[in-house]
């Protein structure tokens, strides 16, 4: 085989392999992903699939019961509320009125969260209007 | 008020500075100087390549034959550069 053909063959093989790997990557990402839902969406779905629940921590709802942190999340722009039970590390910025995301599933009307899955949105630093924190924290 | 004044003063200073080359009739005949600098840089780079090839041979990465071939090629390129430098005078 002359060198030019060999090079062409190498290039084609490489591209095919790369495409196959990329395809595998893309495919598995969809099955490995968790969807993000708001409390009202989770309540509406009513199933036991794992979701990333995103919402605002309801003022006055945060309680510690031993290892478990219990609180309520409501829709960022709505009123639907969902009680959450969470174990694990609580990020420092967590407090009432902050937007958080926690992974878990609905069980008997309560959202049971996976350990260490709580993530808070830090509203300081680069927010444009920081001190209008009446709604937030 | 002070802001506007400051802007004007700053722009004036900057304008004076940046129009320097435009005001002094700088001769375009820097071309030769520039070419010489570039050839010198190319020569340096070529010498480094020659020495690196030598190092590769000493540390066993290049075989004698391969090194001889590459060394000859590089030296040829270096000679071409030296010739051009000589032409510049």
């Amino acid at each position: 085989m002359d060198p030019a053909r060999k090079r062409q063959l190498r290039l084609v093989t490489l591209l095919t392999v790369a495409l196959l790997l990329a395809g595998a990557l893309v495919y598995t990402s969809f099955s490995a992903a968790t969807e993000q839902r708001t409390p009202s969406q989770v309540l509406a779905a009513g199933d036991d699939q794992t979701y990333d629940l995103g919402g605002t921590v309801v003022a006055g709802s945060v309680r510690r019961e031993g290892d478990v942190l219990a609180f309520e999340l409501r829709d960022p722009d709505g009123t639907a509320k969902l009680p959450v039970r969470y174990t694990g590390v609580v990020p420092d910025p967590f407090r009432e009125g902050r937007e958080v995301i926690v992974t878990g599933k609905l069980q008997d009307g309560t959202f049971v969260a996976e350990k260490d899955s709580l993530v808070t949105k830090c509203p300081s630093k680069f927010e444009s209007d920081r001190e209008t924190a009446g709604s937030g924290g | 008020m002070e802001y506007g004044l400051a802007v004007i003063v700053l722009l004036a200073v900057v304008a004076f500075f940046v129009t320097g080359p435009l005001r002094s009739a700088e001769r375009e005949e820097r071309a030769e100087q520039q070419l010489r600098e570039e050839l010198e840089a190319a020569k340096e780079a070529k010498y480094r390549e020659i020495r690196e090839a030598e190092l590769d041979r000493r540390t066993g990465k290049l075989s004698e034959d391969d090194w001889r071939r590459i060394d000859r090629e590089l030296r040829g390129e270096a000679i071409a550069i030296l010739k051009r430098l000589d032409e510049l005078g």
């Binding site: 990329a22 990557l25 990402s29 | 802007v7 700053l10 200073v13 540390t59």
Partner: protein, 720 residues
């Protein structure tokens, strides 16, 4: 003085626009004096921005609260170091830092390149000036740093507590030195394309800048990981968070770039690939800067929606589209003569390394932007977590380390089997020995990927050691120097190569730490009352007593209240004491009817206690359980809320004492992480190697005697 800062910025914007226009006019008309004028405009820009920067820093140091930024991010009580570094903790300040660094980098490269590269420099100047103008436009019109308050407050808000950590304050400038640094090779690449001088000149002129930018960015990423490990309460250093990934992506592509340009310098190949890589690196740097401040992806760092998202995105798209169009239009000039001679060559190894790095970047990119992608495709926003990232990055990282090992052993163009065999046997033997030792003496076999990584790291270190040994031996044969002198001379005369080897060794060590600590970490979460014990790994932890400190912040961040635990840790008879705690800073807007409640619900940070070790770290964080204080807090608020903040301070102190004197429970998280220290050690070694590789050769040209000899020989050869 704020008017002076604002004036400098506005004048700077006009200056940058002039610089771009003059440089382009000089390029078009061929009149160098216009280019020289544009060059001076860039120097002037650096001067103006330096003044603006100084004005802002001075305001911070003076605690001048008429400056809105100072009032928002600093306070009288803030320590001086954090006053200075608070400057870039805000959107406005960090953008100013970005463009200031850009002006410095641009001025430096223009000074160094002097009169060379005449065709390329005008366009490069224009590109740098346009980027500067964009950032200045943002600063002047959207996020002005010199806004003033009509009635300055008596004291400022202080720096956000999570940021009061040295690593966290050096982290942004390091990242920016990286992002901004890549604009220099980018500008010169565009210049090379525009002027059709697509040889290796633009690469050689900007080589040190590329390497410096890469080093700073890597160091900044490492600092971020270190901060996460020592400041946050979860005990990890990398979470595949979008903002972490945003800095990693340009670093990966940048690594590919600094390797593949060597192929163009040596053989003139891969011209299209190289310009594409640097365009990609720069666009990813802009993307990284943008991601952190747009809130477009949810993460622990998301800084909330801001007004900058639109312009930034538009700029990134414009840069990408414009650069791509330019590359396509110059494809003819980018064709190269040389071809890949053999798969057994250093070129082939570098190409493989490039493919792996770009592959890694693609994985990270896909995972990071998946929420947006899934929303666009399926309407639902979904995200992938760390397990997905690890699944794909781990095998790619293993391949990369393997390539790092075999790369130095291959010669350019074509390596012979004989030389490869000779070169690979010693490091492979070392690897085999290391593998045997690990299997026999350690539990490393429990995790196959880790075992493979450890073996590959041994391989890389073996190759590096061998290269040094062969080089020193060759030098001694040649010059008869004693061993240490030969080593210094070898490295001194071949900084790029031998510095690069040290970088490889450093990266290998860092990955060793990553593999060991990921696979073999042991963790325990427990809720303890005084006297209770728990175990983690071989350690026994006993909670002795609670700690409360008022206005006595041992971590130097000025926290008014510290609550924590004193615990005794014991392992094999060795004992030590740890005191993890939590700092309470109070709320920025306390509820006037419940000041105590607000205080305890306000800003708080974890103060982790870490026992560093070469073999393993003992890491522990504690969250005090405030349940026993609930009643007193409520009572205190009811009775004393109206009496003002001084009384509030006394109450907090009283509550602290109560915490210390009762059997207050704490929830601890303890980790035993093997070999984490090697991540930081490896990173420092890599930086050292990069510094060596970067170090300028000095004014003195290449060994005068040597050059004369070669010159003489060449002339004789030519005459013959």
């Amino acid at each position: 003085m704020a008017w002076l800062g604002s004036a400098c910025l506005f004048a700077g914007l006009l200056t940058a626009l002039y610089a771009a226009a003059a440089s382009l006019w000089g390029a078009r008309s061929g009149e160098w004096r216009w280019v020289a004028s544009g060059r001076r405009a860039i120097f002037a820009l650096a001067g103006l921005l330096a003044v603006a920067f100084a004005v802002l820093e001075a305001a911070y140091l003076r605690s001048d609260f008429s400056f809105a930024l100072v009032a928002q991010n600093s306070s009288e009580a803030t320590p001086a170091f954090y006053k200075l570094t608070a400057m870039w903790s805000s959107q406005e300040g960090s953008l100013l830092l970005w463009v200031f660094l850009l002006s410095l980098y641009a001025s430096t490269v223009l000074l160094l390149v002097r009169r060379r590269l005449r065709e390329i420099v005008p366009y490069a100047q224009a590109v740098l000036a346009v980027v500067a103008a964009f950032f200045l436009g943002l600063v002047v019109f959207a996020e002005p740093p010199f806004a003033t308050l009509a009635s300055p407050p008596a004291d400022g808000n202080g720096l956000q507590p999570l940021l009061r950590h040295p690593a966290m304050m050096i982290h942004p400038p390091m990242l920016y030195l990286g992002y901004v640094g890549f604009s220099v090779p980018f500008a010169f690449a565009i210049g090379a394309l525009a002027s059709r001088r697509t040889g290796a000149d633009w690469i050689q002129a900007t080589r040190r800048f590329s390497l410096a930018a890469w080093s700073f960015l890597g160091f900044g990423i490492m600092l971020g990981a270190l901060w996460s490990y020592t400041e946050l309460g979860w005990g990890g250093y990398w979470a595949w968070d979008p903002v972490e990934n945003a800095a990693l992506m340009p670093w990966l592509v940048g690594t590919a770039f600094i390797h593949s340009v060597m192929i163009q310098e040596k053989r003139g190949m891969l011209r299209v690939w190289n310009v594409s890589l640097i365009i990609g690196t720069f666009v990813l740097s802009l993307l990284g800067t943008f991601l952190v401040r747009s809130g477009i992806l949810d993460s622990i760092h998301a800084f909330g929606a801001s007004t900058l998202g639109g312009p930034f995105l538009a700029f990134i798209v414009a840069v990408l589209a414009g650069s791509a169009a330019l590359v396509v239009s110059r494809l003819g000039d980018l064709r190269s003569q040389a071809r890949l001679d053999s798969l057994l060559s250093r070129e082939a190894v570098f190409l493989a390394n490039n493919l792996v790095l770009v592959g890694l970047c693609f994985v990270v990119f896909w995972g990071t932007f998946f929420p947006l992608i899934s929303e666009a495709i399926g309407g639902e926003e979904a995200s992938v977590g760390p397990p997905w990232f690890s699944r794909y990055t781990t095998p790619l990282a293993l391949v990369l380390v393997a390539l790092t090992g075999i790369g130095p052993v291959f010669a350019w163009r074509r390596a012979t089997w004989a030389s490869l065999r000779r070169a690979l046997v010693p490091p492979l033997a070392l690897t085999a020995v290391a593998l045997a030792v690990m299997l026999a003496l350690t539990p490393a076999a429990e995790s196959v990927p880790s075992l493979v990584m450890f073996s590959l790291v041994a391989f890389v270190l073996g190759v590096v050691a061998q290269e040094y040994w062969r080089g020193v031996r060759a030098r001694r044969v040649m010059a008869g120097e004693p061993w240490p002198v030969a080593l210094v001379a070898l490295v001194g005369r071949n900084r790029r190569r031998y510095g690069g080897y040290i970088v490889h060794a450093g990266i290998a060590l860092a990955l060793l730490g990553v593999a060991a600590s990921s696979a073999f970490v042991e963790q325990r979460d427990a809720r303890l009352v005084p006297g209770q014990s728990t175990t983690v790994g071989d350690y026994t932890i006993t909670y002795r007593e609670p700690i409360a400190r008022v206005l006595d912040d041992r971590s130097g961040t000025g926290a008014p209240l510290t609550l924590g635990a004193r615990l005794e840790v014991e392992k094999d008879g060795e004992r030590f004491v740890v005191e993890p705690s939590r700092n309470y800073y109070g709320a920025s807007r306390p509820d006037p009817q419940a000041p105590l409640r607000s205080f305890f619900d306000g800003e708080a940070t974890s103060e982790v206690d870490v026992r560093w070790g070469l073999l393993r770290d003992f890491w522990i964080a504690a969250v005090p359980d405030l349940q026993t204080l609930e009643e007193p807090i409520r009572e205190g608020d009811e009775r004393f809320a109206s009496l003002g903040s001084d009384v509030g301070g006394l109450l907090v102190a009283a509550l602290a004492e109560r915490f210390a004197n009762t059997a207050s429970p704490v929830t601890v998280r303890a980790l035993v992480s093997p070999m984490v220290a090697w991540i930081w050690i490896g990173g420092l070694v890599a930086v050292l190697g990069a510094v060596i590789a970067l170090w300028p050769a000095g004014r003195r040209p290449l060994g005068g005697v040597y050059a004369a000899r070669v010159g003489r020989e060449l002339r004789e050869f030519a005459r013959a």
